[in-house]
Amino acid sequence: MEYYYPPSMDRVTKEVEFHLEKNKNLAQIFEVYKGILAVQLDCLDKIKASVILSEKELKEYFRNKKFLMSDQKLEIESKLFREILGSICKAIKKASPEAPESLLKLSEAEELDEENIQELLQKIALYNKQELEYFIEEKEIDKKTELNSEIIAFVIFMSLSPFYSANMKEVREKVDFSSWRQSYCPVCGQTAVIAKHRSEDGARVLECWLCHAEWVYPRMECPYCNNSDQKKLRFFYVTGDKARQVHVCEKCKRYLKTIDSKIMEKDVLLDIEAIATSYLDELAKREGYKPPKGAVVLN
């Protein structure tokens, strides 16, 4: 299958421009996004995958519906991590001058020592933003760095993301993700926060918010609770824009924003769409649906 991550900066700029033509209000948030992405793309090549399995072994994982990190340890070089973190914070501050000053000091914070980082990573293994925020508050990292725990969690995840992506790319070169049909990411086990219907055939492609793996998942099934009762699945869209949909499950009451690229007749970059469609999150909440658990997104 065709993959869209990592995108070229040119393409990102083009798509962002396309959105800004319609909605200038998103200018600054897109600046922040682009700043973060530039750092991530830049370091992606520097990071070596830590989990190296053969094609045969990977196929066995896939056959058993096991995601890679379920029993493989992701190794993160603390120094590099800290560097990325610093760059990301800097990029945010640059794109958004009103961001807290203290962001610039986060990467040097003593609280992010080796021990804490390793513990952090374990928390991350739980894939729960709340857990991470509790940890941050418990260790008083937020107080000491004068930063809100949500911000800290966000930048930490953004800085970890390339490590996951590097492993994802390694896996992807050996096995095609089109043979993975589970609701969770084949690499890190995370869920998706946004999906698209592929323009070529309409198949639903989920994208992991953490490692950016893209894989096909059946249309007529809820990726959060595996409900496949067609009477309990539906979607809504804002009148006039049928291509940007919110798919909801009446069983688990969760929602998944979905871009129908078959209607748009072109494949879009989901991260950008995720930001541009934050009004859909608002609408979904109003309609009584919950977002997927633990996802970290810029919105």
Partner: protein, 260 residues
């Protein structure tokens, strides 16, 4: 924005007419009453409500019967004769390359039809023809015909990419023994908005081998339309104008015939 082209690879077409039906569907055009015209080709021509069609051609070569299919519609010329001749400037070419008619301005005089080297425009009080799905392509979509095509015979995209694709395909065809294979529409009339990959000579698909804007036709229409611009500016009702034009057209034709 870069110019777009519609690429027709006739070697991939199976003549299902999905493009024709899809064109109707997208443009919400009613069915044109048709009659059997002697082959699978239907309708036999373009109509005000039929902007595209597949041409069917059959040839009995010594060892093999050839059954050719080719989509045909407006060629969206880079220098549209219809646009240049239009007395009321109702025809324009947009930045994507689509030749469009503004029917609120069009007076239905038919000059465009007279000079079109492919005889595309159709008149029913106003001029009607393929719009290259301007509404779709300006939103980044492909044309309805391209979208409907089940075999990839019709595609749509940036001119440079599509021309390169066409040339590569022609090379492939030539290597596979199609000596007459060629790209059509790249150089014709200074480049068309529709490019074909042909496996045989253009005439075999019903395309003019060397399309030309006829100077005689142009001259004739220039003469015929001489006073129209003035009339239009003084605000003669479009209907009356078109009626007058019809008369004038007849007059000039007779004059011309008389001369010959």
């Amino acid at each position: 924005m870069t110019t777009k082209v519609r690429l027709i690879d006739v070697t991939k077409c199976v003549g299902c007419k999905g493009c024709q039906v899809s064109c109707k569907n997208w443009n919400q055009l009613p069915a044109t009453p048709t009659e059997f015209s002697g082959s699978y080709e239907s309708p036999p021509d373009l109509f005000p409500d039929t902007w595209s069609r597949v041409r069917f051609n059959e040839y009995d070569d010594s060892d093999k019967v050839k059954f050719y299919f080719a989509f045909f519609s407006c060629m969206h010329c880079s220098e549209p004769a219809c646009m240049n001749i239009c007395p009321v400037k109702a025809i324009s070419k947009n930045s994507l390359g689509a030749v469009q008619v503004d029917r609120s301005v069009c007076i239905g005089c038919g000059a465009c039809k007279g000079v079109c080297p492919f005889s595309v425009p159709r008149i029913s009080n106003k001029m009607f023809k393929c719009t290259l799905c301007s509404d779709r392509i300006s939103n980044g979509m492909v044309t309805a015909c391209a979208k409907a095509c089940p075999t990839g015979a019709i595609s749509f995209g940036d001119a440079n990419d599509k021309i390169a694709e066409a040339e590569a395909r022609v090379t492939e065809l030539k290597n596979n023994g199609y000596a007459n294979a060629r790209v059509y529409g790249k150089d014709e009339l200074g480049g068309l908005g529709v490019v074909y990959v042909l496996a045989d000579t253009p005439d075999k698909y019903g395309l003019p081998a060397e399309p030309k804007v006829s100077l005689a036709d142009t001259y004739f229409w220039k003469v015929a339309l001489g006073p129209v611009r003035t009339l239009a500016t003084v605000g003669l009702a479009a209907g009356a104008l078109s009626g007058w034009l019809q008369m004038r057209k007849e007059e000039i034709r007779k004059e011309k015939e008389g001369k010959e």
